[in-house]
C-alpha cells in the first residue's frame, strides 16, 4: 500500500477503513440471500404451495375434520402446560445462575442445555423406559391404573423435556450481563425479595422472557420425534399436530397434511413476526437480550 494511503485513508475514503467495496458487499449479500432462499425459504414456500394445491376450499375443509381439530386441541393443551412450566423453571434457573456464584455452575448449565442436543428419539425413549408397562415404574402404574405414556401426560413430559432449555437459555446471558446492582439497590431501600424480583428483575428481562416463551412454544407445538415415541398414535386422541401431519401424509391426503403443516408454518411465521416486532418496538432493551450465549 502506498505511503499516502497509509497516512490519509480516512480523509480520502471515509468508508474504506471499516467496510468493504460496494462490489464485495453486493456479492456477499447475494450469497447470503441465495443461500437462505435455497435452504430456508424454499421449504416454507413448498408447504404453502402444497397446501393450496387444490384451492382454498379444500384447505379450509381439511381444518374442519374432527381428527384435525382434536390434534389442534391436544397440541394447544400440551403447549399450555409445557410452556408456562418451562418459563417458571427458566426464571428460577436464571435467577440462581445469573445472580449467584456457586460451585458446579458450569455443570448445571450443561445439564440444562442437555435437552438441546439429545436426540428427540432418546427424549421419548427415556419415558418409555421409565413409565412403559415394561419399564421401571410400569408395574406400579398399571397396578394403580395410571396411564402416562400413550396418553396426554407422557406427551406433555416428552415435550417439556425437549423444550426445557429454551427460556433459561434466553434469560441467563441477559441476567448475567445485567448484574445484581439494581436488585441490591431495591433491597437496600427495603423492598422484599419477591417485590424486587417482580418489579425490578422481571421488567428488565420481560422481552427476553417473551422471546424465549415464543421459541419454546413453537418448538413445543412442533415436536415430532419425542412425541412420536410416546404417543400411541390414536386418532383424535393422542395425535398432536405434527403426528397428525404424518398420518394424513400416510393416508395419501397430501393436501390435508400440508394444510396442517401450513398452520404450524404459520405459527412459525407468527413467532418470527412477533420477534421482529419486539425488536423494532423495543430495540434498546432487546439489544441487550440479543447478547445471549
Amino acid at each position: 500500500m502506498a505511503m499516502s494511503d497509509r497516512v490519509l485513508p480516512l480523509a480520502h475514503h471515509p468508508e474504506r477503513a471499516t467496510t468493504e467495496t460496494a462490489t464485495t458487499k453486493v456479492i456477499l449479500i447475494a450469497i447470503a440471500v441465495l443461500f437462505l432462499a435455497a435452504i430456508l425459504f424454499l421449504p416454507l414456500v413448498t408447504v404453502f404451495i402444497e397446501a393450496l394445491r387444490k384451492g382454498w376450499g379444500t384447505l379450509f375443509e381439511s381444518f374442519s375434520d374432527p381428527d384435525t381439530l382434536a390434534a389442534i386441541r391436544l397440541t394447544l393443551l400440551v403447549a399450555a402446560i409445557a410452556v408456562p412450566f418451562n418459563a417458571v423453571v427458566g426464571l428460577a434457573a436464571s435467577w440462581a445462575i445469573a445472580k449467584f456464584e456457586f460451585k458446579g455452575k458450569n455443570l448445571l448449565l450443561t445439564l440444562i442445555d442437555l435437552p438441546f442436543s439429545i436426540s428427540p428419539v432418546i427424549s421419548g425413549l427415556v419415558y418409555v423406559l421409565l413409565f412403559g408397562a415394561q419399564g421401571w415404574l410400569g408395574p406400579w402404574l398399571v397396578a394403580h391404573d395410571i396411564q402416562i405414556i400413550f396418553a396426554v401426560p407422557g406427551i406433555v413430559l416428552a415435550t417439556v423435556l425437549v423444550t426445557f432449555p429454551f427460556v433459561a437459555r434466553e434469560l441467563i446471558p441477559l441476567m448475567q450481563s445485567q448484574g445484581t446492582s439494581e436488585e441490591e439497590a431495591a433491597l437496600m431501600l427495603g423492598a422484599s425479595g419477591w417485590y424486587t424480583f417482580l418489579h425490578v428483575t422481571l421488567p428488565n428481562v420481560k422481552w427476553a422472557l417473551l422471546y424465549g416463551v415464543l421459541l419454546c412454544n413453537a418448538r413445543a407445538m412442533g415436536e415430532f420425534g419425542a412425541v412420536s415415541v410416546v404417543s400411541g398414535h390414536i386418532r383424535g386422541l393422542t395425535n398432536t399436530m405434527p403426528l397428525h401431519i404424518e398420518i394424513l401424509y400416510n393416508e395419501y391426503n397430501f393436501v390435508g397434511a400440508f394444510a396442517v403443516a401450513s398452520l404450524l408454518a404459520g405459527l412459525a411465521l407468527f413467532t418470527l413476526l412477533a420477534k421482529t416486532f419486539l425488536e423494532w418496538r423495543f430495540a434498546g432493551e432487546l439489544a441487550a437480550s440479543a447478547r445471549r450465549h
Binding site: R6, K25, F102, N106, I118, I122, L129, T276
Partner: protein, 281 residues
Amino acid sequence: MTFLPSSLRQPSALPGFGLALGFTLAALSIIVLIPLAALVLRAASIGPAEFLKIATDPRTIAALRLSFGTALVAALINTVFGLLIAWVLVRYRFPGRRIIDAAVDLPFALPTAVAGIAMAAIYAPNGPIGSVAQSLGFKIAYTPLGIVVALVFIGLPFVVRTVQPILEEVETDIEEASALLGASRLRTVFQVVLPHVYPALLTGFALAFARGVGEYGSVIFIAGNIPLVSEIAPLLIVIKLEEFDYGGATVIATLMLAISFAMLFLINAIQGWSRKKYGNV
C-alpha cells in the same frame, strides 16, 4: 462461568437462592436427570461384554459415523455461511434485511417433520431442485447428501444467532486503527475482527453439530434409510425398539448421550473461556 464482580463482593446480598436453585434442581431431576439415569442404568444392566458387542457392531458404527459425519459437514457449511450471513446482517444495510434477519430463526420454529416432508418434496428426483441435480447426474434426497441438506437447515440459526451479537459488539475503532496502520481490508477482517468472533463461532458450530447429531424428524423423510449407507443413529434406535431390543436401543442412545454431554460441556467451557478473554459479551 465468569465471576460477576458484584456477586463476588456480596455473595448473599440477594434472597431466594435456595428456592430458585432448589426448584431448578427439582425440575431438572424429574424432567431430565432421572429419565436419563434410567436410560443409562438400563444400558449398563446388559453387561459390559454385550454393551461392547452392540457398540462395535458394524451397523452401529456406520450409523454413528453417518450421524456424526453428516452433522460435522453440515455444521462446517453452517459455520462458513452462518458467519457470512451474520456479517451481512450486522454490517450492511440493504432492503429486506429485517425479513432475512427474522427468517434465520425459521428452523427453530418450523416443526422438523414439516421441514422433512417439504425438503423431501424439493430434493426428490421429481422435485424442483432434485430434478436439476438429477440432470447434472447426482442425487440429493435418499443419499447422505440429503441428510446434510436437512441438517444445514436445522443448524443454521445456531451459528448465526451465536455469532451475530458478538459481531455487533466488535468496536470499529480497532478496524480503523488496523486500516490506519496499513493493513488491507482482508487482513483487517481476518486478523483483527474475526479473532474476536472465533469463540462464538466455535460455540455456534458445536451447537449446530450437537443438534444435527440427534436430529430425527426432518432427516427420516429424506435419508433413504439404507443400513450402512443412509441409516442414522436415531433411526437405528427406533429400529432396535421396534424389534423389542431395548438393550440395543439404550446402548446406542447412551453412546449418543455421552458424546452430546461431552460436547456441551466443551461448549460451555469455551463460552466461559471466551467471556474471560473477551469480557462479558
